[in-house]
């Protein structure tokens, strides 16, 4: 494998890791606040559709992004209603949201565009274009560093940079701000937050809303950045891989970045090569497909460092004496 191929694989890794990373951070906010969310997949899918649909109708990708975020946040609202206000089962609510998105997107797509559950292909202003960072062309002549900068670091859509910027931002919010302190507390011991005079419900809704926002961006990136338009079930399990990455990262932002890059790399490799020949021993492509899930199970099993979720996760808060 020559250096340019490597760069291309890594470049594709970055692109594929972006939606995972956004969804993973979305899940991080929600689960750190004690609300389990297996509905990341559905929210992304919903956002992917609405961003593509609105971008296609209006020709503006930014309006598309807004619509995607809004639709994802509506689903977040439903999840909040079920799991916070009505103290329902968060896992079941998440499952319902995934199906709701899977069904509604196709239903509406068919009704609006009559193209078999997809949106028209996006063109021009309907897509996020790649940004060439300053000096990318000028530096491309420099060996190693030049192509790295030009290929790998420069030349992504704005949402890729947003996603990567979200990592330090999330870390800072979580560990350096009042909101972060309260958010972490409400996922560990909501009764402590409540008796300290802070609204558990308010905090949890805020967390769920941020989760919706980030899932919205993730979905919009899928349909308007990574690809040009919405197709049925286009998230293809990314929400679950993001969930896996979240567990892999033990609910910490920087580790989430590494986990998403790792899973993105696996996807990139699986996309580029069918079977990988390791000196006579052939790894079938299906192994690459399954690897994120297998790794997550191994992590969950606690054989490689135990993943302990936030203590109050999944439990609705009921005031007790």
């Amino acid at each position: 494998m020559d250096y340019l191929t490597l760069l291309q694989v890594l470049d594709s890794t970055v692109r594929l890791a972006t939606p995972l990373l956004l969804a993973c951070l979305a899940g991080l906010f929600s689960e750190r606040a004690g609300i389990f969310d297996i509905g990341l997949e559905g929210k992304m899918l919903m956002a992917a559709f609405f961003s593509a649909a609105v971008a296609s109708v209006t020709g503006s990708v930014w309006l598309g992004l807004l619509a995607g975020i809004a639709s994802s946040m509506v689903l977040s609202g439903i999840h909040g209603l079920a799991s916070i206000t009505f103290r329902g089962n968060q896992l079941i609510s998440g499952v319902a949201i995934n199906f709701l998105a899977a069904g509604l997107t196709v239903l509406i797509a068919q009704h609006w565009f009559s193209q078999g559950g997809r949106t028209p292909s996006l063109m021009g202003g309907g897509r996020f274009t790649d940004i060439t960072l300053p000096f990318a062309d000028a530096l491309s002549g420099v060996p190693i560093l030049g192509p790295t900068y030009a290929e790998l670091i420069s030349g992504h859509s704005i949402l890729v940079y947003v996603a990567f910027a979200c990592v330090p931002l999330t870390w800072w919010m979580l560990y350096r701000t009042r909101f972060g302190l309260r958010l972490r507390a409400v996922g560990e011991a909501p009764e402590a937050v409540d008796t300290a005079g802070v609204s558990v419900i308010g905090l949890r809704y805020a967390a769920v809303a941020i989760c919706g926002l980030l899932c919205g961006i993730a979905g919009a990136y899928l349909a308007t950045g990574l690809q040009a338009g919405f197709v049925k079930d286009m998230t293809a399990g990314r929400g679950y891989i993001a969930l896996a990455a979240l567990i892999f990262a033990k609910w910490r932002p920087w580790y989430a970045l590494s986990a998403c890059l790792l899973f993105g790399l696996l996807q990139a490799v699986a996309l580029r090569y069918q079977n990988i020949d390791l000196g006579g021993f052939i790894i079938p492509v299906q192994v690459m497909d399954a690897l994120p899930y297998i790794l997550t199970v191994v992590i969950l099993a606690g054989f490689v460092g135990k993943a302990i979720p936030p203590r109050a996760g999944g439990e609705p808060y009921v005031k007790e004496r």
């Binding site: 209603l81 995934n98 709701l100 069904g103 196709v106 567990i247 497909d289 099993a301």
Partner: protein, 368 residues
């Protein structure tokens, strides 16, 4: 005292949730410019007014009975088995191996063999998540989701690299030998002058599903194991006190659950397609969740809910055929049913409880 009578909790809450889901679905149909009443009429005609329609409805219902029972048994042990999809996938593999590689003289023996194979493979696929949950506390919801994806990759590999006949294009196994073909309803119930269930896939495994309903009912409410499963589901600490091993019960309940999911493949792979296909489960593993929730984890309720979803599935197919409403409408309805009966049930229960409290208090006059 309980806030409301048990019958209200068992029937009224799911019924109202179902009505809410139905109303919202009607709104969705309205929103895409179709008439809900017309749609319902089409669905009823297509699914229930002809024997062929019933043949499809019951075929789908068979799948949902198995997966619904699977989710229910796990729920009784307070395990949320979301891995029905993967377990059914593996069940299909079990069926295929049994049908392809063992010489069967007659379908009845093949049915027994395939059922054992399906249940064993399904159970096996549930075993690892169960063991990890019981022994290492790994959250079973996450592990079973992961195992769904791993199962899909595994089946893909097996079909493409091992089972696909040489020269074939699509990733599917060879067709099973004739001796393993199950009698369909058409063969069983048609007479020369009165053809019934023509072309419909419903087959003898529907009766297997009914037997499974009775067996699960006996298991849960009449056997020691069921008593222990429910006890563990209600309170792990109490179960430990009583000498019930949580590890043992979790593993057994999940094995039964996985086995039931796997059995679904007898209907699809052996009864219908007669060869192993990719995506043979068609999401039935997930519909089991809706069915179990609506059926309140009771086999009789599961049966009713499975019939309802069978109707929805077949009706939805009819809709897609005759109108511009895609089949995904059913996915939306399924989502709404899960949402209302599983996650928003308190939204229905809370006002009902208040109503019953009010009803109970008024005849006694003002409170002390």
């Amino acid at each position: 005292m309980d806030k409301m009578p048990a019958w209200a909790d068992a029937f009224l809450v799911p019924l109202i949730s179902l009505i809410l889901a139905a109303l919202l679905s009607a709104l969705v149909i309205l929103a895409i410019g179709e008439s809900p009443t017309e749609a319902l009429k089409l669905m009823v005609e297509g699914a229930l007014m002809r024997s062929a329609g019933w043949g499809y409805t019951l075929y789908y219902a068979t799948n949902f009975i198995f997966t619904g029972l699977a989710v229910s048994v796990a729920f009784h042990a307070r395990m949320f088995n979301i891995g029905g999809e993967g377990q059914a996938t593996l069940g299909g593999l079990g069926v295929a191996l049994v049908c392809l590689y063992l010489p069967w003289p007659h379908w009845s023996l093949a049915l027994i063999g395939a059922s054992l194979g399906a249940a064993a493979f399904g159970a096996l696929w549930a075993l690892i998540p169960a063991w990890l949950q019981a022994k290492r506390g790994s959250h079973i919801v996450i592990t079973t989701i992961m195992f769904n994806f791993i199962a899909a990759a595994l089946l893909n590999y097996v079909l493409v690299n091992l089972l696909k006949p040489a020269g074939a294009m699509d990733p599917a196994s060879a067709t099973f030998p004739d001796a393993t073909h199950l009698p369909t309803f058409q063969q069983m119930f048609s007479t020369a002058d009165n053809p019934l269930f023509r072309g419909a896939p419903a087959n003898i495994s529907f009766f297997l599903a009914l037997i499974a309903c009775v067996a699960v009912w006996l298991l849960i409410w009449r056997t020691r194991l069921g008593y222990e499963i429910r006890a563990l589901g209600h309170s792990e600490s109490a179960a430990r006190y009583a000498g019930i091993s949580p590890v043992r019960i979790i593993v057994i309940a999940m094995l039964i659950s996985g086995g039931l999911s796997g059995l679904m493949a007898v209907n699809t792979t052996m009864g219908e397609s007669e060869r192993l296909l990719m995506n043979a489960t068609e999401g039935a593993g997930f519909i089991g969740i809706a069915v179990a929730l609506m059926g309140r984890n009771h086999p009789f309720g599961v049966l009713l809910a499975a019939l309802l979803f069978g109707f929805l599935y077949q009706g939805g197919a009819e809709l897609a055929l005759w109108t511009s409403i895609p089949r995904e409408l059913i996915v939306v309805i399924q989502a709404l049913v899960i949402l209302f009966t599983g996650a928003l049930d308190n939204m229905v229960r809370m006002p009902l409880e208040r109503l019953f409290l009010l009803l109970r208090r008024t005849p006694k006059g003002p409170a002390e």
